[in-house]
């Protein structure tokens, strides 16, 4: 197993290197002057001034020299200046990341509980009514584009019932959060509210999270349910399950103690990837619900043709995805003895 993990660890810098090269290549499609405007805070007016900046920062030099310099800046946390967020990309990322992380975490909770429970129940009731209903439900969920679901959800739960408003916080809560007696520990409203002992703000933040979290998660929930179903079906057909039954163990015990742990192994992989997917895939959901996180910002930046910001967000999420992938492979090796001993 050690060689396997070491091999994976060696692949990590290669992938990260490729990621940065590709991002930089996309950035390189901009002309030197365009890139210069992307890196200065206030636009100098004359072309002469722009030309001086291009020369000063060597934006017309060969690709590899510029790439080296860009990487150096990156290592020092400089990702350029974001026009759409009116601050450096790095600090805007720090501001928006917690919001998306919070949304992702709250989205994943129902995914785990619902997906795993429904999936294993569908498997133990294979081809019966529950299984068929679950299958229809999951195909329908897959076919419902997030933004259509989001708009229907807004129509019902906001427009008609007034239960769950868009945004991240109500006005009064927002004022409270921004005041000086409220300490921001993490930037995640629900977590900070607990640390500040403010149940009212916690409830308000949660109320704003319900619809976006639901919209973001139902696809993953359907995915996990299907996966759990087929994985459980497979586990129930294995010899060790037959053995457990032959020993006369009660069916519930067979399922929960013998089949379930093995069926959960592939779920671990997918959940981690799902986490990375939800974290970076919130663009549409965050936009519809006016939930201002990384995804909302990415869309806003794209609409303003703010390439530097979009690429900065992509880079961060790409790096997260690469690390999650690595973690998944390593976890897999620990969990699955067939990989561990090969």
């Amino acid at each position: 197993m050690t060689t396997y993990i070491v091999r994976r660890l060696f692949a990590l810098p290669v992938t990260l290197f490729g990621l940065t090269v590709l991002i930089f290549a996309l950035l390189g499609t901009l002309s030197p002057v365009e890139r210069a405007t992307a890196y200065v805070r206030t636009d100098p007016k004359t072309p002469d001034e722009m030309q001086r900046i291009v020369e000063k920062y060597g934006l017309d030099q060969p690709f590899y020299i510029q790439y080296g310099r860009w990487l150096n800046e990156l290592a020092h946390g400089n990702l350029g200046f974001s026009k759409s967020a009116a601050q450096p990309v790095a600090s805007a990322l720090l501001a928006y990341f917690p919001a998306s992380l919070e949304l992702t975490v709250w989205s994943l909770l129902p995914v785990f509980v619902g997906g795993i429970w429904l999936g294993s129940k569908a498997a133990t009731h294979h081809n019966r009514l529950f299984d068929r209903a679950a299958r229809v439900l999951s195909v329908t969920a897959f076919s419902f584009p997030g933004f259509v679901f989001a708009m229907v959800a807004l129509l019902i739960f906001y427009a008609a019932l007034q239960w769950f408003p868009p945004g991240r916080l109500s006005d009064w809560a927002n004022t409270a959060v921004l005041s000086s007696d409220f300490h921001r520990y993490t930037g995640m409203n629900t977590v900070d509210a607990i640390f500040n002992l403010r149940p009212d703000i916690f409830a308000d933040a949660l109320r704003h999270l319900v619809l976006p979290a639901l919209t973001l998660s139902y696809g993953g929930w359907a995915l996990l349910m299907r996966l759990m179903r087929s994985s459980m079906l497979e586990a129930l057909r294995q010899d060790y399950t037959t053995t457990a039954r032959a020993k006369g163990l009660r069916e519930r015990y067979v399922i929960n103690k013998h089949a379930m742990p093995n069926a959960l192994i592939p779920i671990v992989t997918v959940s981690a990837l799902l986490f990375a997917g939800l974290l970076s895939g919130g663009g549409i959901v965050e936009t519809v619900f006016d939930y201002r996180g990384m995804g909302w910002w990415a869309v806003d930046a794209a609409l303003h043709l703010d390439v530097v910001s979009v690429l900065g967000i992509t880079l961060l999420n790409g790096a997260v995805l690469v690390l999650v992938n690595l973690a998944v492979d390593v976890a897999y090796a620990f969990l699955d003895p067939r990989i561990r001993f090969n």
């Binding site: 259509v148 229907v152 079906l233 995804g295 390439v307 992509t314």
Partner: protein, 313 residues
């Protein structure tokens, strides 16, 4: 005819025939499943609407059929009436016209993008697996880099980098979707080719002196067709949604272009008044859901028919 040890090896000489038998069996399996029949029906419905679009909704300017006609500029949507059976959006775009011609846009985007990613991914995956060695290793690393890009962000980034350089905005989005979409097929087909490559009939074909490319095309690739078909069905719906999503965000073909995402974008401002403006969400949203559902049902049935563990149960 290949005779080995006096016995005609059907697996060696007749992979094509076997394929045809399997195709028949699987088609029958598909026909037995009511969900896949429903899916096929939905797909046929949308294809028919797309083909008959000029009859169902005659364009006022035949040279630019994708430009939605608008009846004045009144900012508030109007409910269905005799002139506009599905009502109008803000800016008075005719929803019925947009839904009908949007069907063409959805099919076009789904089929073109899926076709291109299957082609590119297929060639890359097949060649990389068949030749193997350092080339395979290199291609795998490249694929890994592309997979490291989060899908939505990659589409956004590509779309805004390309769109100022390409006149046709639709083309810019196709390029963006294809650029990050081919990797899945490259992996899928690579795995299939690797699995088939080791089979006896491929070895036999090679022993008979059949050239490499011919083995690849005649013996190896046909076996990868089914897994590709299943995923491709899901992808046709998926890419239509991806395009609608981008269009919904305002990164589509431009205002007034007939596509469902655009119509939903025009609906976004009116969501807070459900009772009055239901029609601006229902028609384009419903079309998009049914379209995706059709392809998903068929793709799903393909996958079930493919999975030997689920077959015959």
């Amino acid at each position: 005819m290949a005779i080995i040890g006096g016995v005609i090896e059907p697996e060696i000489i007749r992979p094509a025939l076997r394929m045809r038998v399997r195709l028949l069996r699987r088609t029958r399996l598909l026909a037995r499943d009511p969900m896949s029949v429903a899916g096929l029906f939905l797909i046929l419905l949308f294809v028919t609407v797309a083909i008959l679009a000029p009859l169902l909704a005659p364009p006022p300017d035949p040279a630019q059929p994708y430009e939605m006609p608008h009846d004045g500029f009144w900012p508030e949507p109007r409910p269905p009436n005799a002139a506009h059976p599905f009502g109008t959006t803000e800016g008075q775009y005719d929803i019925y016209y947009g839904v009908v011609w949007g069907t063409r846009t959805a099919l076009k985007m789904g089929l073109i993008v899926t076709g291109l990613v299957v082609l590119i991914g297929g060639v890359v995956g097949a060649v990389s697996a068949y030749i193997g060695g350092w080339l395979d290793e290199f291609v795998q690393r490249v694929v890994e880099v592309f997979i490291a890009f989060p899908a939505l962000l990659a589409f956004l980034a590509m779309a805004i980098v390309i769109s100022p350089r390409v006149d046709d905005k639709l083309l810019a989005i196709i390029i963006a979707l294809v650029a990050f979409g081919w990797t899945g097929y490259a992996r899928l087909i690579r795995a299939d080719v690797l699995a088939v490559k080791a089979r006896d009939y491929v070895l036999a074909a090679r022993a008979l002196g059949v050239p490499g490319w011919q083995i690849l095309v005649r013996h190896v690739l046909p076996n990868a067709v089914y897994s590709v078909l299943a995923v491709a069905c899901l992808d046709i719906g998926g890419y239509a949604v991806a395009y609608s999503g981008l269009s919904f965000l305002g990164l589509g073909a431009g205002r007034g272009y007939a596509d469902w995402g655009q119509l939903l974008n025009l609906a976004h401002n009116w969501v807070s008044d459900l009772a009055r403006f239901w029609y601006i969400v229902l028609f384009p949203g419903g079309s998009l859901v049914l379209f995706t559902l059709g392809w998903n049902l068929v793709g799903d049935a393909f996958r079930d028919a493919l999975d030997p563990r689920l077959r015959g149960q």
